[in-house]
Amino acid sequence: MKPPSRPGPAAGAIVAIAAAAIALSGCGSASTSSSAAAASTPAAPATSAAAAAFPVTVTGGDGTVTIKSRPARIVSLDPTSTEDLYAVGAGPQVVAVDDDSDYPANAPKTSLSGLTPNIEAIARYNPGLVIASQNTGGLVSGMTKLGVPVLIEPAVSTLDAAYAQIEQVGQATGHAAQAASVTSSMKQRIAADVSKAGTAHKGVTYYWELSANPYYSATSSTFIGQIVGLFGLKNIADAASKPADGGYPELSQEYIVTAKPQIIFLADNQPADGGQSPAVVVKRPGWSGIPAVRNHEVIGLNDDIASRWGPRLPQLVAEIAAAIEQLG
């Protein structure tokens, strides 16, 4: 454990003492010291120079986390977090990513699992920060015992939350300024695509396929549904959703066909995600009468981008915009 490299004035000194105390005691109670830090650290270190920002306290999905110094060794246990880290420029600090992280290609992929995390295996990488999307298998309590902060960045339900998460990853890793420019460029690209599409296609119906047989879809209340909703499209799954399905109803094939969607988006398109490519879907018996099938508006998406909430969202928005533009 390294002491803070450049502590701030008064608050930093207190934290430095707390950190030193933990370092001495080996595995002291990190929760008390982090709450002390939370109370004394300025809430928004945001735009100051990267190194000067530490210690940093951020509020992740599992409560507040204090990162005492710029983490030189980061382990990511979630594909979206991995993409966030590289997008904000923290890539050189990343020492290991989980077995589901496949972007960017040069991320140090390991056999670590984010679904069933193994504390000892993670600890072997001697991380200064662990980022994951869920606190399973005692991840947070286990790493905290070892004095390693764990930032939980769970799946988001709004676009704003996705931006906030990227910015938070930036703050936690010493790249706040770069993260802010990443999100503002994302916002610009998405706004440009939406305004280019205009309002001429408001009310066009679409079906978002998550899986075939059974046919799971996502309603417009979900994260993904909100993104398509930016274009004013109408989701056929909305009418089928019940509160209990959390916005992910299992649709009957009959319903999909008779709802006559004008665009079909396939998030189960690539071989690893179900292999329901446009070529497969247009051949489904009984589907030939669907407007989307007749008009070649069956869109095979990049499933990874469509199922994550990271920096590549503008690419997904561009795929949707292209499908809408193609409607003519």
Binding site: T116, A212, E254, T258, W287
Partner: protein, 343 residues
């Protein structure tokens, strides 16, 4: 006579279930027009129906294959369950117990996790092969282990071998899943729950030959199973070869269950419960239990699937949930109301 009456009633039950199922669905087709469109398909009869081409596609390409596939799957599962119960002289057996379900589950999991590049069409053959392999391995181990067992304790040994093989295959499946991506876990889970939502005529055609062969084989052995029920010694005294009967019926039932599982995933409850309903209706003779199970199982699964796709319409429920939630109380009621009839 009781047997003929029960068979007639079961056939009427199946036809009624199929008709109801064909007339309702999320597409909200007008039932009268739907009926007209169906009658129009009967040779020499022409009826105009108000269905649009899209509605007709829904009816003939999506709904009807689902009804027919449901009937086939339900019939095969129930008949296989009855056959196994006969072979093992045990009322608690169904096709899941002899490594068939575990083998199918492992086959499907391997196809989903490791052979994703082959596309979604790789799953049914993998499940089919896995199911048959599971039963074959369990049977071979069981047969080898029981060779030196006194008192023809072979039946219990076979079952134990089936349980061991099933546990082993399930453990391998769990291991593979635990090491694979979240998306794969979800896909496998959906498959394990069972579903008929992607039913096509192509699936119906692909399992029909196996269904036909196994049905003929199993139904021909009703009398043999009745004799086996008395005991191996008695069967031998009557000139039968218990081991030969056993291997034939097990093979035929394995084929039936494998064909069903390949297109529908794992649907529980049907195989173990339907044979008991058949026994309540017409007595314990396998000459009636086997064909009755076939018909009742078919009708039951068609009804269960109708509920699965209409209760939350236009959303769906997993069919395995319906077979158990609706089937279990119905079964208890049948047990109670026929208490006096027969054990």
């Amino acid at each position: 006579m009781k047997k003929i009456g029960a068979l007639g009633a079961a056939a009427i039950f199946l036809i009624a279930a199929a008709l109801v199922s064909a007339l309702v669905g999320a597409a909200d087709l007008n039932p009268l027009d739907t009926a007209a469109a169906l009658v129009d398909k009967i040779p020499l009869i022409h009826l105009p129906s108000g269905l649009s081409p899209l509605d007709r596609a829904v009816l003939f390409q999506i709904r009807l294959p689902r009804v027919v596939l449901g009937a086939l799957v339900g019939g095969m599962l129930a008949m296989a369950g009855a056959g196994y119960q006969g072979v093992f002289r045990n009322p608690l057996v169904d096709s899941g117990l002899l490594g068939a379900s575990a083998g199918a589950g492992l086959g499907a999991t391997l196809a989903i996790v490791f052979f994703a590049a082959a596309g979604p069409n790789a799953v049914p053959p993998a499940a089919f092969a896995g199911s048959l392999c599971g039963v074959a391995v369990a049977y071979l181990i069981g047969a080898a282990a029981s060779r030196n067992t006194p008192l023809g304790g072979g039946v219990a040994t076979l079952l134990l071998a089936g349980i061991a093989v099933g546990s082993f295959l399930t453990a391998v499946q769990t291991l593979v899943l635990q090491r694979s991506a979240e998306q794969d876990v979800q896909t496998v889970y959906n498959w394990l729950l069972g579903s008929l939502s992607g039913a096509t005529w192509q699936q119906v055609v692909s399992i029909l030959p196996y269904a036909a062969v196994s049905t003929v084989l199993v139904l021909l052995h009703g009398r043999h199973l009745d004799v086996l029920a008395v005991g191996d010694e008695e069967a031998r005294a009557l000139g039968m070869h218990p081991a030969a009967v056993r291997v034939t019926v097990v093979a035929a039932c394995a084929l039936a269950a494998a064909a069903a599982v390949a297109v529908s995933g794992l649907i529980g409850f049907v195989g173990i419960v339907v044979p008991h309903v058949a026994r309540r209706l017409a007595g314990p003779s396998y000459r009636s239990v086997l064909p009755l199970s076939l018909l009742i199982g078919a009708g039951f699964l068609v009804l269960a699937d109708t509920l699965a796709r209409t209760v939350l319409s236009p959303a769906e429920l997993p069919i395995g949930v319906v077979t158990a939630v609706v089937g279990a109380p119905a079964f208890v009621w049948i047990l109670r109301s026929t208490q006096g009839a027969r054990p």
